[in-house]
């Protein structure tokens, strides 16, 4: 294996010729000199309503977007889960049992303070098995950053966001985005993240274009993405 590694590196050096063999510092300075004439943001936050743009773009990809005032978050969460519970129950004739949702550690406790009868919350500590996760109707999380230009939310799976599987296996994802988490465009968003963490970028519910290149929502990931944009 060391053999393969040395062989490949030697072939690269031979292909690049004598000009290629320079110090790491020289490579970094050449990288730093690459012209980047593109825009830092396609909608300048000084002149555009970035939150409205985010809401529009997320909705364009069939996410459900609700704008709520910060104190109203608990009520909005309760309402969304009750609605989802009713539709889950509706699929099972005569069912009256409570519907189980999950929330990760680190979610502000007040957010779950208004839950209505029929909604049950599970934690993920110790971590649920994949089969247990599959039996959960939906999940409530926060996020790390959002991108207005593309209607994207980014989870870095820190406190209040849960491990990656938690927001993947259940069919319903309710996510709270705070106004100060919304970046105008990609450059600002990536600058806010910590690369060492795992990240998931989410733009609408799961989708596919694999049949006749026509977009269809709802494959393996959550088929419903509900965003609460907190103002």
């Amino acid at each position: 294996m060391t053999l393969a590694r040395e062989h490949i590196l030697a072939r690269i050096r031979a292909a690049n010729g004598p000009g290629g063999a320079v110090s790491a510092a020289a490579v970094d300075s050449a990288y730093g000199a690459i012209p980047r004439d593109y825009l830092r943001a396609h909608h300048d936050p000084a002149r555009h309503d970035i939150l409205a743009l985010f809401a529009d773009r997320a909705a364009d990809y069939r996410a459900v977007v609700e704008r709520v005032l910060e104190p109203d978050i608990p009520a909005a969460i309760a309402r969304a889960l009750t609605g989802r519970g009713a539709s889950v129950r509706g699929q099972t004739a005569g069912a009256t049992a409570p519907v189980r949702f999950a929330a990760p550690a680190g979610l502000p406790p007040a957010w779950l303070g208004d839950l209505q009868a029929g909604t049950e919350m599970a934690g993920d500590e110790p971590p649920m098995t994949s089969a247990e996760l599959d039996a959960i109707a939906g999940v409530v999380t926060g996020c790390a950053v959002a991108i207005a230009e593309t209607g994207t939310i980014i989870l870095d799976h820190g406190p209040g966001q849960g491990r990656r599987a938690l927001s993947l296996v259940p069919d319903f994802h309710l996510v709270v985005v705070r106004a100060d988490q919304v970046a105008a465009d990609l450059p600002d968003a990536f600058a806010r993240l910590t690369p060492a963490r795992p990240h998931t970028l989410i733009s609408g519910p799961s989708a596919t274009s694999d049949i006749e290149l026509i977009r269809v929502e709802g494959v393996h990931g959550p088929r419903t993405l509900h965003i609460l944009l907190s103002l």
């Binding site: 393969a4 590196l9 994949s130 690369p195 970028l201």
Partner: protein
């Protein structure tokens, strides 16, 4: 890279494909749909050309310093708890993956769509080791269930329409719901149900990567369905097979490439899901992560000053969707996992110009340049095609024909005689109005090209007979 078994050269394969009217209908419908949407997604950004130029320069800089960046990637992946393996060719890469799967004591693996694993024939190699690879991307699943081959980089089942897909599901998917219609939403739901248990019980996941970030050791998988998230998150062991050219110097470069890739491939501002991970994380995702870096012909391409630009490719498939040749022949005619204009320059570079199929690929183009225009990393595909054409060694027949043509064209008398001979032979060589296949040794000429039949009378003969139509 495998040449698909028994693959004829492009002109022969194309002839069969063009005669398939259902195939042409499916392709025209799909490529025209995506073309219009892509144009819209790109028109939204005023600085598309600047993004494209930045991407081109970043990739060229990376290729020029590939050794430095690969070592940096290795160091950072290892620091984050991952293991890095190097493979010179497909056989080495397949052997590494098979050993890792066996060490994980698995006989089934779930796979995210990956061009690199198509290229090295990983599924077949795993099967030979008693390991079943389950494709989880919807289009790959369709192709796998139908025992067919992919025909498009992004949408491997682009050659199938919804009714054909429904028939495949009904025939090959034991748990397909009764009464399944050809509604794409229903078909997607059937795939969800079919694969759910596989995801939940999988212990090994295999992926490629769209990007590998040298300065952080992060891997990036761009997808739509969530099957990618499942494969890189749920299994205990994750193996990513990645071509050495997929590397980007820095985390920051994602701001360029994630602006270009989704708009170019699916015409979306952003694809539904992108997973980014760095080594292994405590309590989140796989406990073991292996990165297999694959050369498999890439360093040979790197050594070619004109051909190396193909290594900038980010596999968006925009060039396939605009190509007038691809639109008519489909992907199978290219005889490679990489079809279309980019395939016509990648396949012969990675595999060499040994087979008749690979020698014909640089000619599978009208050089119209539409591919270059849409390429998000500005690969000058026509330039590379012409460059490769010049490298194709001519057969003895071709060299003889060129030599004789030289002699004939030197003398008006010899030309007139040759034209008379050609006109006289037209009934024998070109029954359908075109010269398609001549017996050896003349097959050395017709293997890679069609030629119009000689006219019954040459222009010179007509002029001599009629004085330009006056007699």
């Amino acid at each position: 890279m495998p040449t698909y078994v028994g693959m004829p050269s492009f002109p022969k394969a194309a002839r069969t494909a063009v005669a398939d009217s259902q195939l042409r209908h499916n392709l025209t419908h799909a490529t025209h749909t995506i073309r219009a949407k892509r144009a819209g997604a790109i028109a939204e950004l005023d600085d598309w050309e600047q993004l494209r130029q930045a991407a081109k320069v970043i990739k060229d800089h990376t290729l020029a310093n590939l050794d430095t960046y690969l070592l940096r990637l290795e160091e950072n992946v290892t620091k984050a708890g991952g293991h890095v393996h190097w493979a010179r060719d497909a056989a080495e890469a397949n052997a590494i993956v098979a050993t890792l799967v066996r060490q994980a004591k698995a006989d089934r693996v779930v796979k995210v769509k990956s061009m690199a694993t198509q290229e090295i024939g990983l599924n077949e190699a795993l099967a030979a080791n008693g390991i079943q690879a389950i494709e989880t991307d919807l289009a790959e699943l369709i192709v796998q269930l139908d025992h067919d081959l992919p025909s498009h980089i992004l949408v491997p089942a682009i050659h199938k329409n919804r009714a054909e897909i429904r028939d495949i599901f009904r025939r090959e998917m034991p748990d397909a719901p009764p009464g399944l219609t050809d509604d794409p939403a229903q078909l997607a739901a059937a795939a969800r149900t079919h694969l759910r248990q596989e995801f939940l019980k999988a212990t090994v996941g295999i992926s490629g990567a769209n990007f590998a970030i040298a300065d952080t050791g992060s891997l990036v998988v761009v997808e739509s369905e969530g099957n990618g998230r499942m494969c890189v998150t749920l299994p205990e062991t994750l193996i990513s097979v990645v071509g050495i050219e997929k590397i980007l110097p820095s985390w920051r470069d994602l701001e360029v490439f994630l602006a270009l890739l989704p708009r170019s491939s699916t015409a979306e501002r952003m694809n539904p899901y992108t997973s980014i991970w760095t080594g292994v994380s405590d309590q989140d995702g796989p406990k073991a992560f292996h990165l297999v870096l694959v050369d498999n012909g890439r360093t040979a391409s790197l050594a070619d000053r004109t051909g190396r630009q193909a290594l900038r490719c980010i596999r968006c498939s925009a060039c396939l969707n605009v190509c007038p040749v691809y639109e008519r022949t489909g992907g199978h005619a290219y005889g490679s996992p990489y079809p279309g204009p980019i395939g016509a320059i990648i396949s012969p570079q990675l595999r060499g110009l040994e087979s008749a199929a690979d020698r014909s690929l640089p000619f599978a183009s009208t050089l119209c340049g539409a591919c270059y225009e849409v390429c998000p990393v500005a690969i000058n595909i026509p330039e590379a095609l012409v460059h490769l054409r010049a490298k194709v060694k001519h057969t003895m027949t071709e060299r003889t024909v060129f030599h004789l043509s030289g002699l004939v064209l030197q003398s008006p008398r010899k030309l007139a005689a040759a034209q008379r001979f050609a006109s006289a032979s037209r009934k024998i060589v070109a029954r359908s109005g075109r010269i398609r296949r001549l017996p050896p040794p003349m097959s050395g000429w017709t293997d890679t090209r069609d030629a119009p039949a000689p006219p019954p009378e040459s222009f010179r003969a007509w002029w001599a007979r009629t004085r330009g139509g006056k007699r």
